[in-house]
């Protein structure tokens, strides 16, 4: 019988530890255990066989670390391991009831954006291992000891792309049920269930006793078979050898307790031996087996956060969507992702639970923009995202790179659309927004919408997408063109709840299109919709009346324990000022009387922008304001910094204030050509992920009138040189923080000299010195941001 037919239907058992056994056989510190597949196959076979003999149904190949970062013959090592394990199974006489698991451990690298391994490269690394194991005849893929849910996702995607074997994933949690990267049990399970693996669980980290509470949480939230593979307690060193403190009898007795919680596959990890496993099997087999039960909770997750869609409505921030937003459109065209990130942070602060991300503009490459924006937003916020696009390629790129289980906006009842969207949701997982419209258009009545919703649920069944992961859109449309539209929408929302026990969503503000005082209509409509059972509201969380409705509703409906959220949000509320929304004070009040120059010198961001606006409103010319007030005050701070009387933080605060003032000018002159001193490239060199220094220099250069092309961090030499050639750049600024990355700085300079010798290169960073700069062939060394500005001035004014 195949493993899939048995998982979750009877007790199955994994194997135990390998490391300490191999050490006992003479594996040296620093020696990679996987090399033994080629050099000492008999020892590995004996190890595998000992677990088959102990009664394990699932025995791992010796391939935990067999990846391309450690080996250049991955395929050979993996193939040998599978063959050895198969032979061991044969010799143990277990060919009819035991399985060879292609063992996949972590790469030892952290994925972008936290680390330097791109997600798609991680997928390739795993695919190489799994493909070799599959072709050699492995029976399942066991992805284990993962402490990062994102890396686990990369491995699962790889497995699904190279084979159709069963996939088991076990993660390492700490005592509090957290992954090292911050995710919790429930969110990780939701993501893995979405990815449609065959079983999930926990391994390593600690012994069975500490694992008990985690196993309990798994049983509560997980609908799949659960795997538990603990260590033999805690390690300690005796005479240079690592030993563990839980013996086989104690191990078996704690595993029996865990078995009774209702888990389904059990085995061991570090320090456990065939003796531990065989004693455990004997004990656990006597415990009655309980099959997994389907749980009905709906979760949208990020790597660290887990938002439940249920009784309490969820706020989805709508601000990252270019429709009708000129500034956002311009930001997308300029690839100014900082603008999008600012919008993300603002909405988070205002109380959004999930952020909608729509980057669709006809003139941009939406798929790569989606991928880039999803990655960048996830680098600054824990909030889960709703990937919102009609472009199927953009949808897939976004879902693939996404860390967690996203919301997907959307699918509709059209056959063609279902065929395009649902397979992606089945592959990557996600909570899917479904629009009840089809080839016949948008039904005017709730009857018509409910009929399409029903059909969409049935289609989801066919694709194996659980109904709990479908959220029906009530389709809010303006009451100004159809007086019955609000009624039809509210009916639809209510019927989704009552007839399907389902979840619903609305783009709330559509209801008031074309009306004055839209927020009045919107906020009341929101209350009515929530009263009819709305699960998710797509709104602008920075809008006071909307959030006031939301928080009041929760307070009144007993969805806000101790009214804490309500009180926190409105403790400073002044009667009659329903627009109080943000909890953040701008700080502008303290500097209300400062002039523009003073605001910049003192670094009061809000006031600087305000003063600039006042100056422009009074009819003054923007260039005149910049030359007579902004630059001189910035210069005073800069000179003070150079003289050592002003320190970096003050310089930066002034720079921030100047930047805010410039933003006002930029907005006012959006349609006029800008005057710049010239274009400069800034980049942190390849291998280096520190970019604070580089960012500071960028802000200063921009304030002094330069147009900065920011290539980011970890930038390969070719990219910098190509960009310099393409834009005919006069000055390139390179930053490196570590001695190890100065080498790639040198490489960049060499390539530049070869391909574009007239470009000047100025370098800086913690380890840089004038001598060092000279040695690697840079044109100049800048000790700080001001020095970079001065150098650029000298180049562009022609003195260098």
């Amino acid at each position: 019988m195949g493993l899939r037919e048995r998982l979750g239907k009877e007790w199955l058992f994994c194997d135990g530890g390998t490391g300490s056994i191999l050490q006992g056989l003479g594996l040296k510190g620093g020696e990679l255990p996987e090399t033994w597949n080629l050099t000492r196959p008999d020892d590995i076979k004996a190890l595998n066989k000992s677990y088959f003999d102990a009664g394990s149904n699932i025995v791992n190949t010796n391939t935990f670390g067999a990846n391309r970062f450690k080996f250049d013959n991955v395929s050979e090592i993996v193939t040998a391991a599978v063959k050895i394990c198969q032979q061991a199974r044969k010799e143990a006489g277990r060919e009819d009831d035991a399985y060879v698991a292609i063992d996949v451990g972590p790469t030892g690298k952290l994925l972008e954006p936290m680390g330097d391994l791109p997600f798609n490269v991680a997928v390739d690394v795993f695919a190489e291992i799994i493909k070799a194991g599959y072709e050699a005849g492995g029976d399942l893929v066991l992805i284990e000891t993962m402490s990062d849910s994102y890396e686990a996702k990369a491995a699962v995607v790889a497995a699904k792309e190279v084979c159709d074997l069963p996939i088991i994933v076990t993660m390492v949690y700490d005592e509090t049920g957290k992954l090292l990267t911050g995710g919790g049990v429930e969110g990780t399970v939701a993501m893995l269930e979405g990815l449609k693996v065959d079983a999930v669980g926990i391994n390593c980290g600690f012994g069975p006793t500490q694992m008990l509470p985690i196993a309990e949480r798994l049983v509560k939230c997980c609908s799949l078979p659960i795997v538990v593979n603990p260590n033999a307690g805690l390690p300690r060193t005796e005479n240079g050898v690592t030993v563990y403190d839980v013996d086989p009898d104690d191990f078996a007795s704690v595993m029996e307790q865990i078995a009774k919680l209702g888990v389904h596959v059990m085995g061991g990890c570090c320090g456990t031996t065939p003796d531990h496993i065989s004693k455990m099997i004997n004990t656990v087999k006597a415990v009655p087996f309980t099959a997994p039960t389907v749980k009905n909770e709906t979760y949208v997750t990020s790597f660290a956060d887990c938002v439940k869609i249920g009784k309490k409505p969820v706020i989805i921030g709508e601000r990252i969507n270019p429709t009708g937003k000129k500034k956002l459109q311009q930001a997308l065209r300029d690839h100014n992702t900082d603008y999008l990130l600012t919008e993300a942070l603002k909405q988070e602060e205002a109380g959004a639970h999930i952020l909608d991300v729509n980057v669709g503009l006809p003139e941009i490459d939406e798929p790569s923009m989606m991928e880039d924006v999803v990655l960048k937003i996830q680098s600054v916020t824990n909030l889960p995202l709703q990937i919102d696009t009609t472009n199927i390629e953009a949808l897939e790129r976004g879902m693939r790179i996404y860390n967690g289980k996203p919301m997907i906006n959307s699918v509709n009842g059209k056959e063609e659309n279902i065929k395009a969207v649902m397979p992606l949701v089945a592959k990557y997982g996600g909570v899917l927004v479904a629009l009840p419209l089809d080839e016949g258009g948008i039904p005017e009545t709730s009857d018509g919408r409910i009929a399409i919703a029903k059909r969409i649920y049935e289609e989801a069944d066919r694709y194996g997408i659980p109904r709990k992961d479908i959220v029906i859109d009530g389709l809010a449309m303006t009451v100004s063109s159809d007086p019955n539209s609000a009624i039809a929408t509210l009916d639809t929302v209510r019927r989704v709840r009552d007839e399907f026990d389902g979840h619903s969503i609305l783009g709330v503000s559509n209801i008031s299109f074309g009306l004055p005082a839209r927020e009045l209509v919107n906020s009341h409509f929101l209350t009515m919709a929530m009263q009819n059972g709305l699960s998710c509201a797509i709104i602008n969380p920075c809008n006071g009346p909307m959030m006031a409705s939301y928080r009041s509703f929760n307070a009144l409906m007993n969805l806000d324990p101790n009214l804490q959220e309500f009180i926190t949000a409105f403790k400073d509320y002044v009667a009659g000022s329903a627009t109080v929304a943000s909890t953040k004070s701008s700080g502008a009040a303290s500097g209300a009387v400062l002039t523009l120059g003073e605001a910049i010198e003192r670094g009061v961001v809000g006031r600087a922008a305000e003063a600039m606006k006042e100056a422009l409103d009074s009819g003054r010319d923007s260039l005149e304001i910049i030359d007579s007030e902004l630059i001189p005050s910035l210069d005073r701070v800069g000179k003070g910094f150079e003289a050592g009387t002003i320190f970096l933080p003050q310089l930066l605060m002034s720079a921030d204030a100047a930047k805010a003032a410039f933003a006002v000018v930029k907005e006012a002159m959006a349609d006029k050509p800008r005057n710049t001193k010239g274009q400069v490239i800034m980049a942190t060199v390849k291998g280096d992920i520190h970019d604070i220094g580089k960012n500071i220099v960028k802000v200063m250069l921009e304030n002094y009138g330069y147009d900065v092309i920011d290539l980011g961090k970890d930038v390969p030499p070719e990219v910098i040189v190509d960009c310099a050639i393409e834009n005919n750049i006069k000055v390139v600024g390179l930053s490196a923080l570590m001695t190890t990355t100065v080498a790639s700085m040198e490489e960049t300079i060499k390539l530049m000299r070869e391909k574009k010798p007239d470009t000047k290169i100025v370098v800086g960073g913690a380890v840089m010195t004038p001598e060092y700069a000279d040695q690697i062939g840079a044109d100049a060394y800048a000790k700080d941001a001001m020095a970079t500005v001065r150098y650029c001035d000298s180049v562009f004014e022609g003195s260098v």
């Binding site: 620093g30 972590p106 600012t342 933080p649 605060m653």
Partner: protein, 225 residues
């Protein structure tokens, strides 16, 4: 789990590049205070340590790991470890949250980014200082003395040795810190170090600062110049 120790404001100021100044403008003070609160409450410190017998001969320090011998060649470390026959190798991190705080601040304010950066650097040091104090007491009870912490990359100890630390302590798995191709650690607010165990109190070639080639010009040096 929060940081568990207090981040000294003085150290944050030092990492921000303030010299000889302990009082700053009220606005800055508020922002620093907020950053310290955030970093303290969102950190999740983890540490892994292991004691090894060592032997110092000339500039070679041999670390004995069972049957394996790892040789660290460094004049400055050899000076630090003179007379030691054991060492504690360690790796610690305050977790990934601080990196995200820095990235978030970078979006809106370069000043805040530098403040969070400084608060994070001060946090991991404060956490380690606290750990160090406890360790010192433990060893003192056995009549042993600890030398100042010394990290790969200090003085002439090559940063390449990061790889040895990662392998010996199984750092990725134990505390969730990974090494990039260019030997940087992520999360960035992480430290690898070695602490010598000696039978005397000698503390030659003390801090990392005095061993650093940029000691005289560095804006962040711990010592007054």
């Amino acid at each position: 789990m929060p940081l568990g120790v207090t981040i000294p404001e003085k150290e944050v100021l030092r990492y921000m590049g303030y010299h000889g100044i302990t009082k700053v403008e009220p606005d800055t003070q508020v922002r620093i205070g907020k950053a310290i609160d955030q970093v303290e409450s969102q950190s999740h410190p983890r540490i892994v340590t292991k004691e090894y017998p060592i032997r110092v001969r000339g500039n070679d320090i041999t670390v004995y790991n069972g049957t394996e011998e790892i040789v660290l060649t460094s004049e400055s470390l050899a000076r630090n470890l003179k007379g030691c026959c054991g060492a504690v190798l360690l790796a610690a991190t305050i977790g990934p949250a601080c990196d995200m705080l820095v990235r978030r601040a970078s979006v809106t304010s370069s000043a805040d980014a530098s403040i969070y950066q400084a608060a994070g650097a001060a946090a991991i040091e404060a956490f380690l200082d606290d750990y160090n104090d406890k360790l010192e007491k433990e060893y003192a009870a056995q009549g042993l003395f600890l030398r100042p912490r010394f990290s790969p990359g200090y003085g002439d100890l090559k940063l390449d040795h990061q790889k040895d630390w990662f392998r010996l302590l199984d750092i990725s798995k134990q505390i969730g810190v990974e090494l990039t191709d260019s030997l940087l650690m992520v999360p960035t607010k992480s430290v690898t170090a070695l602490i010598g165990i000696g039978i005397d109190k000698s503390k030659v070639g003390c801090s990392g600062c005095s061993e650093c080639g940029k000691h005289d010009t560095c804006a962040y040096s711990k010592e007054d110049k």
